[in-house]
Symmetry: none
Subunit: 231 residues, 2 copies
């Protein structure tokens, strides 16, 4: 099942553009062009996120936003405001009324998608899935197994947790300290460089057989799963 996006936008040019591109990105897109309809559709379609134009016929986007927040059924749905205005004051009003983020037209699709994902991550408390995948890598918490391209990968407990941590947010860079906190726990002390060694061990296990390394080293910062990697 894919992520459902509700687009509230009255300009056809923009809504078509959005529908086209977001569909291509794998989202399930519904478009409405007016505020009252938006409120109704939000209720029964239950989108995962709403993209809300600021300027709408009849009711302003900000008012929609306020009303969405007032109803139990729609309260939790994150909202990104789309607007031509970049003024500070407007931005503040948007956040005040409960917008989760704010995108100024014109925007790039890349930016929009990144923001959608960021907001969803923030709003969506841990997807407690047993099976997590990243490219051709699959990690199963239940069986404590990791596979790459269907082939079994043998990991020690520490490497397993390390991968488990990294895979939660592919692309995000974790500092050695953050990894120590998350993988080793906050109370125990180990050298930061120990992380390097375990990253090395994880790499060796994961890339056995000459596969491409999916782990990115970010100098002076830490490590991340390379989000541009496609298994």
């Amino acid at each position: 099942m894919s992520i459902k996006v509700l687009v509230v936008e009255d300009e056809d040019a923009i809504s078509h553009l959005l529908k086209y591109n977001l569909t291509a990105e794998g989202f399930e897109v519904t478009v409405v062009d007016d505020g009252d309809e938006a409120l109704m559709v939000a209720d029964d379609f239950q989108p995962d996120i709403i993209l809300l134009d600021w300027m709408l016929p009849n009711v302003s986007g900000i008012e929609i936003c306020r009303q969405l927040r007032a109803r139990a059924e729609t309260r939790e749905i994150p909202v990104i405001m789309l607007t031509a205005r970049a003024e500070e004051e407007d931005r503040l009003r948007g956040f005040e009324k409960g917008a989760d983020d704010y995108v100024t037209k014109p925007f790039s699709m890349k930016e929009l998608v990144a923001r959608i994902q960021a907001v969803l991550r923030r709003a969506n408390p841990a997807a407690a899935a047993n099976l997590v995948t990243f490219g051709d890598i699959a990690l199963d918490r239940e069986t404590m197994r990791v596979t790459r391209s269907e082939a079994n990968v043998t990991l020690g407990p520490t490497e397993f947790r390390l991968l488990e941590t990294l895979i939660k947010r592919p692309g995000r860079v974790y500092s050695r300290e953050q990894l120590l906190d998350r993988v080793w726990g906050q109370d125990i002390y180990v050298e930061a460089r120990t992380v390097d060694v375990h990253i090395g061990r994880l790499r060796k296990a994961l890339n056995k057989g000459g596969l491409v390394d999916p782990i990115r080293t970010v100098r002076a910062s830490g490590y991340a799963l390379d989000e541009t990697y496609t298994g």
Copy 2:
């Protein structure tokens, strides 16, 4: 580079605690223990937020707050007051003088971090955002990546921070000294001309493939992102 916090606090016990915990939370923390120093450091370090102790030697926190508001350079920086007093009257005075929030000692780190983030969101949504864009350039703090026209740009740590600094205020001209303060830090000494070299490196990386240079050199002054540039 992460969010910069300036802590103004004269009690070592507390400032150490703050520095330790906030650093662990991913903030970049600078501590000063006296008001006059705070004003100076705020100017060149340009923190994203200031945690200000109410009781300080020489000058009171509230006075610092007032003076911060009086200067263009520091006016926009949000302030959270730290105080042992919880009386309504003090709280009002704090807000009157321009504090954005108010935390009463003793406080939990969790609470403080939550308030910092709330204040940052309110005061400056862009600074708290992971993704900053300028024209066709996008800088993502979470993944530590920079792209131009969707294409990945490889930067060293220093060039990354340099761009991060410039992109905060496109168009603003930064002197070499200001860039040294903000990008390199206040305590270390390097030649001003070193900035030129890194600007050169940033340019080379950013414009690879014959793209237009978005960085403007302002003779005898410094550098800026060219606000007339449209990606």
